[in-house]
């Protein structure tokens, strides 16, 4: 499972303040702790209230790269923020994200090719998030086809079915789990699959329990990657155990430690 740590996001109080005040120590601590807890990559998001997102994104990348050398996921809806960021990323970059709208694909797919980055494709478009499985599949196929046309390797594409809060759209979570498997039959090689996990529990009172339950179900549905909070130890234990049950690592009594010593 490819784990993208979600904690460096201006939407969160601590990171938001650090970005505003350019407090490197907070961001660098978040980067190191997420890496130690098992993150394979870090998501960087300036947050919705950033006055100068290009500047903030540059600062985040430089700040994080001073302490860790790992893939960075540039999380922005603005193409120029992503491109300015891509210029600075030393390790591998992940573009987070494009929708299935052609205006977005026209810009972001070539950028991913130019900078040899991975790309996250959300199955939504101008009409919003689909409420059914077929529409999600159709949008995913559109993104895959566009990548193939432009010569972007589909194995570097992560399709995100867009997880909705379970307390708002309770019928959607089951559909998302089903469609995760179906994304795999769109093409050969298949695109990878990813979810932004925390969305599932937005606004609920049992956030961590809901997150880890959904994660283990999604792993059983062939999920390849997730954007999540790696500092949630029970969540990480659930992830490791789910992979164990699917025979993705060899059991031993200390399998949790063994995974963390990878």
């Amino acid at each position: 499972m490819f784990i993208i740590g979600e904690l460096i996001n201006g939407m969160y109080k601590e990171a938001g303040r650090a970005i505003r005040e350019k407090d490197k120590s907070v961001i660098q601590r978040l980067a190191k702790r997420q890496k130690e807890a098992g993150a394979d990559a870090l998501d960087l998001n300036c947050g919705p209230v950033s006055k100068d997102p290009v500047l903030d994104m540059r600062w985040l990348i430089e700040t994080v790269q001073e302490v860790v050398d790992m893939p960075l996921s540039l999380d922005s809806t603005k193409a120029n923020v992503i491109e300015e960021g891509l210029k600075l990323v030393k390790n591998k970059a992940i573009i987070n994200s494009t929708s299935a709208d052609s205006e977005k694909l026209e810009i972001l797919v070539p950028l991913a090719i130019k900078y040899n980055a991975s790309l996250i494709g959300l199955t939504l478009d101008k009409n919003g998030v689909p409420q059914d499985k077929d529409r999600r599949l159709e949008l995913a196929a559109r993104i895959v086809a566009d990548c193939q046309e432009k010569g972007f390797p589909v194995e570097n594409l992560y399709i995100d079915p867009v997880v909705l809060p379970v307390n708002v759209a309770q019928n959607q979570a089951g559909l998302v789990l089903e469609v995760l498997k179906e994304f795999k039959i769109i093409s050969t090689p298949a695109p990878k699959t990813i979810v932004g996990l925390s969305n599932i529990s937005q606004g609920t009172t049992k956030r961590r329990l809901i997150n880890r339950t959904f994660l283990s179900m999604a792993i059983a549905a062939d999920l390849d990657a997730a954007i999540l909070d790696p500092l949630d130890e029970e969540l990480m234990n659930t992830l490791i155990t789910s992979e164990l049950i699917l025979n993705k690592q060899i059991y031993c009594d200390s399998y949790l430690d063994a995974y963390r010593k990878r």
């Binding site: 690592q249 060899i250 031993c252 009594d253 200390s254 430690d257 063994a258 010593k261 990878r262």
Partner: protein
């Protein structure tokens, strides 16, 4: 159109383990042996690097090997009663690259030799031959816990391979090997889960993963060979796919298992249709060893020089030399 072979891309390689150290490195060996480093399954040269060839270690005991069958003991003759002459023949005549010294005589049921006697013996072995050494205890847990730390100290700086430790008994010997700079044999009972667990336990004590060799416990042809093979294969596949806690070279005690088989021991008059007893044992040992090479064995501990010769030739062919 020419058919193209499908090549597997692996994420991880097997650790490189070095046995022995020369005078420059603080030891007294005339050369060192490096093994492991495989980037793919055995002998698939097109898929990844296989930097070191599997190595055969000759077994030498501290005490006469009385229960060895005639097919085996006849080749060594009287030297089986004289460990230093035995070691000398292995190194000089049979060109052994590694010696595996077994302290059988220390076992309470054999000669119950004292720790001091064995330490003295090991010191003499160290001085009398220059090849890198594997040192294996007598198999009695209590005795080995007293014996092996002392041997480890006597051999300090020689970068030996010492064993074995098990899941229930690893702390004392691991601590000694760690302090004296040796590699360690981690033995598990044909069980990949325990092999992995033991590696974690040993590494938790501070032992670098690059100094651990797995003894998966093997059986001879006809005596659990396939079971051991499949465990080694599963372990190696997991290691290559990224499991660092299983990415260790294997040591296989082939001689000990093969010469226990009734096919290697039974006299000709009992089973005339089985052919000459002198040849049977050799073939049993060679075939068992050749099989484990295909499962990923890095060190084969063997007994009969003729069997070694056959397997050596097999290794050379498989390594493309």
């Amino acid at each position: 159109m020419a058919m193209e072979l499908v090549k597997e891309k692996w994420l991880n390689a097997i650790n490189k383990v070095t046995i022995g150290s020369t005078a420059e490195e603080g030891g007294s060996r005339t050369k060192v042996v490096t093994l492991g480093g495989e980037e793919t399954l055995p002998f698939l040269h097109a898929e990844g690097a296989l930097p070191y060839k599997p190595v055969i270690a000759y077994e030498v005991w501290d005490t006469p090997a009385r229960d060895w069958p005639e097919g085996l003991s006849s080749v060594y003759g009287k030297v089986l009663n004289e460990p230093f002459a035995w070691a000398k023949i292995c190194v000089e005549e049979y060109k052994a690259e590694l010696l595996c010294v077994r302290l059988v005589g220390a076992h309470p049921d054999v000669e119950n030799r004292s720790v001091e006697e064995e330490a003295d013996f090991i010191e003499k072995i160290r001085k009398s031959c220059g090849v890198p050494l594997i040192v294996v205890g007598c198999g009695d847990t209590t005795k080995d816990n007293a014996l092996l730390p002392v041997c480890s100290q006597v051999l300090k700086g020689e970068h030996c391979l010492i064993g074995s430790v098990t899941q229930d008994n690893y702390k004392t010997i691991t601590a000694s090997c760690l302090a004296d700079g040796h590699n360690i044999i981690a033995e598990s009972p044909i069980d990949v889960n325990i092999a992995k667990q033991l590696n974690i336990l040993i590494s938790d004590m501070g032992m670098p993963l690059e100094r651990i060799v797995i003894d998966p416990t093997v059986g001879a042809l006809g005596y659990g060979f396939e079971y051991a093979y499949s465990i080694m294969e599963r372990s190696r596949l997991a290691a290559l796919a990224g499991d660092k806690m299983l990415a260790m070279p294997f040591i296989c005690f082939v001689g000990q298992e093969s010469w226990r088989a009734k096919e290697a021991r039974t006299a000709e008059d009992q089973h005339p249709e089985w052919g000459a007893v002198l040849e049977r044992g050799i073939i049993w040992e060679a075939v068992t060893a050749a099989g484990f090479l295909q499962a990923g064995a890095d060190i084969l501990v063997m007994r009969h020089p003729k069997a070694v010769e056959i397997v050596q030739k097999n290794i050379e062919e498989l390594m493309g030399k």
